[in-house]
Every structure is written in C-alpha cells, then in structure tokens.
Symmetry: C2
C-alpha cells in the first residue's frame, strides 16, 4: 500500500504495468528503436487534415492499442491521466473525448509521461482506481509552428536545439498487471537556474532532473549502481552531460547505465536532429517500446525513468523570463531484486 | 480511508480544509461577494509589467495567504496541484516556482479548482501527502488577448458571452484540518454535444456538468435536496438554465439551492458582464470566499461544488472543431449531516 518514503518519494505496493503501446511517426520509425514500436505511421498527418488533429488521432490510436494489449475495454478503465504540449492540451482532450472515461488533464510539458504514470500508480495502489491509463503525445509539426516557426519558414536551428518527437505512449496500470512493478515515484519541484536560451532546453531542464534524482536517492538510500538503466526524458546531448556534472557536484556519479530517451530514439549521425529528441512523446514512446519491452523480456531489471519538462511558453520567453522546469521520477522493477 | 463508490465517485475519510484564501481584481471587488475576499487588488497589473506576470503574481499571493491562514509553511506542504488558462499554464509555473514544493501541473481549463481539490484530497486521504495545496487562477486581460482579441481592439461581445474573472483561490487540505470535510469527489468524463459557438461556452459545458451530477447522484444515492448549495463553476446564465433542463430530462430537479459561481461573483445588472463570470478563477475565488466562509460560519452545511471546463483552444475552433468539456465535483460537508 502506498506510503511516503522521505520527503519527496512515495513507495507503492503491488501496482504494475498491465499493458502499454507506442505509436510514432516516419522519422522515429527510421531510428534505432524502430523494431520496438507498435505502430509507425508513414503518413505524418495520420490521415487527418491538420497537424493538431493528427496528434489527437495519435493519442486515440495509442490508447486503443494499449487497451487491446492489456485485454481491457474503455469501460474497465476508471481514470485517464493525459496531457500534451499543444495550447490547451487539445491533443489529449480531442483525442480522448470518445472513450467516455473519467479524465484528468495534465500539463507538465515533456514531464507528462512520468507525471501521468505517477498519478495512475497512486490511484491504483490506493484503490481509488481499479485500472488507470497514463498517456501523452507530441507532434513535430504541431510543436514547431506553436513554439517556434511554421515549417514553411525553414528556420535554421543551432546545434543545441532538439527535435520534437512525433509519437506517443500509453500505459495501463493495475494491481493485477503482470508487467513491471511501479515501486516508487518521486514528485519533482520546479527548478529555475535562470537559463533563457529557448534553443537549449536541455540545459534548462537538467537542474530539475538533478534535483529529483538527488531527492530520490536521499529518500530511498538507493544509489545509481542499483539500476540497470537510469534515463531522463529529453535532455539531449547537452542537457544530459550537464546532468552528469550537476550530480557529480553532489558526489553522485552516473555511470554508463545513464542515458536519455532523446539520445536513444534517433541516430544522431544520420538523422540530423542536432542535440537529440524532445517532446512529451519522446520519453512516452521510448518507455512504451524499448524500456518496457526489455523489462518484460528480462533484459532490464531495475529502471529509473525520469521525464523532464520545460515549463515556459513562447510568450513568457518573449517577455524576457527564464525557463522553469520540473522532472518526475518513476522506479520500475521487474521484481527480481 | 478513500474508497470507490459506484463507477465514478471516490469516498474519503477525514480529509478537511485546513486553510484557504482568495485574491481578486478590482471589478470582482466591486461585486456582491466583495466582503469575503482576502485581498482585492486595485491594480489590475498586480504591480507587474505584463498581464501574464500579473497572473503569476496572483497565484503566488493567493498561495502565500492560504498558507498563512492554515498556519503552514511551504516546507510542510508535500504537493501542489495547480493549473490555469494561459498557454503552457505559465500562471502556475512562474507563480509557484519559488516555493520549492513538489508540483503537479494540471490543465482542466475552468474545471481546475475542483480537479486540483480532488487530487489534493485523494493524496491526503490515502496518506500519500500529509498536507496538499490546490489552487488556480485566471486574469481577464491575459485571457482576452490569448483566447479572443487584444483589449485594445475593443471587440463587441454577444449577450451569451461571459467575463473572465481576474482572481484565484487556494485551498490547503490535510487530515487535521478543522474546516469543511471533503467527503466525496466525482471525476468527470469529457462531454461534447457538438456546440461550436465560442461565445456560448456555458452551453458547451452544461452537458459535462449534467453528466457529472447525474453520475454523482447515481453513485451515492443522494439527491439535490440533500444539499444547502449546489454550484457549478462558470456556466453563466445560459449554461445554468440549460443544465436545469438537461437534469430535468433525467428526472432530477435542481431547486433554488442550485446556482453558478459565474452568476454570484458579479452584479449582472450593474457590471456589464453579459452572461456572468467565467475562468478558472471564477469557481476558485468563489469557493475560497463566499462558499467556505459560509460553511465555516455554519450558514451552509452540505455543498456540491462543480467546476466546469471547456477544453477547446483558439486553434481547434479555427479548425472547425466543436468544444469538448469536462466537470469535476467535490462534496464539501460541515459535518452536521
């Protein structure tokens, strides 16, 4: 049964993954994780007329696939936790409106996958939900025109910029799930060290990831070596290097078991994505393919999964503000240790 | 201890309001509820340079006041649930970044107050948090230029349009609170009956409120007469009349104990707000003034508080979409029944 561990962490009982699915776009389907995705859409518009509708379609599709794989119907899900990057989170509200499932909308920017999974696990573990769904999405074309420039503008991107993943992931959580256990969750605090460079989001988010990781290790007494994989959501190459540095200042050394979903999803040599992938769908789709697949196959035992979110808006940046960020952590366990 | 009641409702044990506060703008301070607000800002900009920064300042201020009234420090709060109407919820992330409290960002449009209160109550009741904070805000000037037109444009508004409240509310929830008990919460499903009129949000949201109310009565066996007050968040005059009709079709008659926060906060004869107030801050500030004040003074015993949110974006409307909506419900009790 759920109980607090230390200041920032909640320990859970027998709450587990019952099913999961990932859906991605063409570019992600050409990357190194291609074999693990449930569906790769060759059509960037997912058969819809606008990028925003494409993202809603993606959310609808990824939830349907996760339900199928869990052997669950919409009626059996007591609550959905979902959010996305679009203004007013329309990817989620339009994508999920037909399921008729109680809906809690989230905004955590790219931290949404871990945020949704955290809340799902707490609701299930405490009996407030029998079965819960956690999902999120992002779409490169919709995100570009909202946060940066319309694609038609053809703007140049600096080396520290990242590429928003077109993709999403959905996890069905229940007490009778036979997949990995959700053992602990750590809820992040907002960190803001004053980074203002909208083209270096990894640097803005690394302090939040460092804080949450540090909190988790302090609360639980665990250490990095206890894990087969520690992964952040979308710090990219610059941000993940910065995270290593920030952790070393705290005398916590992240070894070769640490990586970032944004570094895994693309082949940076061949795919011209600069510092790596980003977006809610980055950690969402990597969790629901490579990570959970390998855990279910016994190739990964203990995993720390952090999603990292930058909480600015284009308007707050125009107004000269720095970029606050947050990171939430989920400890997934295959139960062997 | 929290347990499911029926399909959509969660019953809670001894979780109560420990403190609360409301902060509003000048116009709200000229309305009929003025005496109950903790602070009325004569300066619409709250001392800041932009409307968006004003809204962040408002969130910071309303949380500080609620903490003070609860006799709590930021360190004693285990989790904040907050969200707002601004793109990427910057009212919340910038307003709360200095408190250093674990942060769960929400997007439920104007349903946010009930959404945040629901999650706070569940976390506290299950022991996942010792003390939690639920808050939200909206700002007329920031909302107008984001959702409709810049104020300088001076656009005309049809009679069914509503006036976004400049205001916010914050509730501190704990098991040892001596304020009203949070007895039950009902989590809403997304409803969309095809309304596309962006100037009649009440009509778009009424079906969600009807669905959640119906679910609550079915789950608990309670009826409208059991309550001293049943209030929706911001259906306004048109939407609340529609809600009465929709409920009558289900053979549930809402009596004179039903009203809407959007009808309470302004004097519609004198204040030129057309169909009434709206925005996250509408139900937020009315809950944290008139409603909780009267409950604490023994003038209201049992209250059903619903916040209602329209989940569209300006872009989804431009793309010809209808307006999905959601309503979450909280049963507050002074404990007499």
């Amino acid at each position: 049964m759920a109980q607090r561990i230390g200041r920032y962490t909640i320990g859970l009982g027998n709450t587990a993954v019952k099913g999961y699915a990932s859906v991605v776009g063409k570019k992600e389907g050409e990357g190194p994780l291609a074999a693990g995705f449930d569906y790769i859409s060759e059509d960037t518009a997912f058969g819809e007329k606008t990028w925003e509708k494409a993202e809603s379609r993606l959310q609808k599709d990824v939830l349907s696939r996760a339900l199928n794989k869990a052997g669950a119907t919409p009626d059996s899900i007591d609550i959905i936790f979902s959010g996305d990057l679009l203004n007013q989170c329309i990817g989620s509200s339009y994508g999920l409106r037909e399921f008729n499932i109680p809906f809690i909308g989230l905004y955590g920017a790219c931290s949404t996958m871990a945020e949704a999974l955290t809340l799902s696990a707490v609701f299930v573990d405490t009996g407030c939900a029998g079965m819960a769904a956690a999902l999120t999405s992002s779409h490169f074309c919709a995100a570009e025109r909202q946060f940066r420039f319309p694609l038609e503008y053809g703007g140049q991107r600096p080396p520290s910029a990242q590429w928003t993943v077109t993709g999403g992931g959905a996890v069905i959580v229940s007490r009778d799930g036979t997949g990995p256990l959700i053992k602990e969750v750590t809820i992040g605090r907002i960190a803001d060290l004053g980074v203002k460079d909208i083209n270096n989001m990894g640097a803005a988010m690394a302090p939040a990831a460092a804080e949450t990781l540090k909190d988790y290790f302090a609360d639980t007494g665990r250490k990095p070596d206890d894990f087969d994989l520690i992964t952040t959501g979308d710090l990219g190459s610059d941000g993940s290097e910065l995270l290593r540095e920030l952790m070393e200042r705290e005398n916590i050394k992240l070894g070769t078991n640490y990586t970032d979903c944004g570094l895994m999803i693309y082949d940076r040599e061949k795919q011209d994505v600069h510092a790596g992938g980003s977006g809610c769908g980055c950690s969402g789709s990597v969790l629901c393919s490579f990570i959970l697949n390998n855990m279910c196959q016994g190739k990964l035992g203990e995993v720390l999964f952090l999603s990292t979110g930058a909480l600015m808006s284009p308007m707050s940046v125009q107004q000269g503000e720095s970029i606050p960020s947050v990171a939430h952590l989920v400890h997934l366990s295959s139960g062997r240790k």
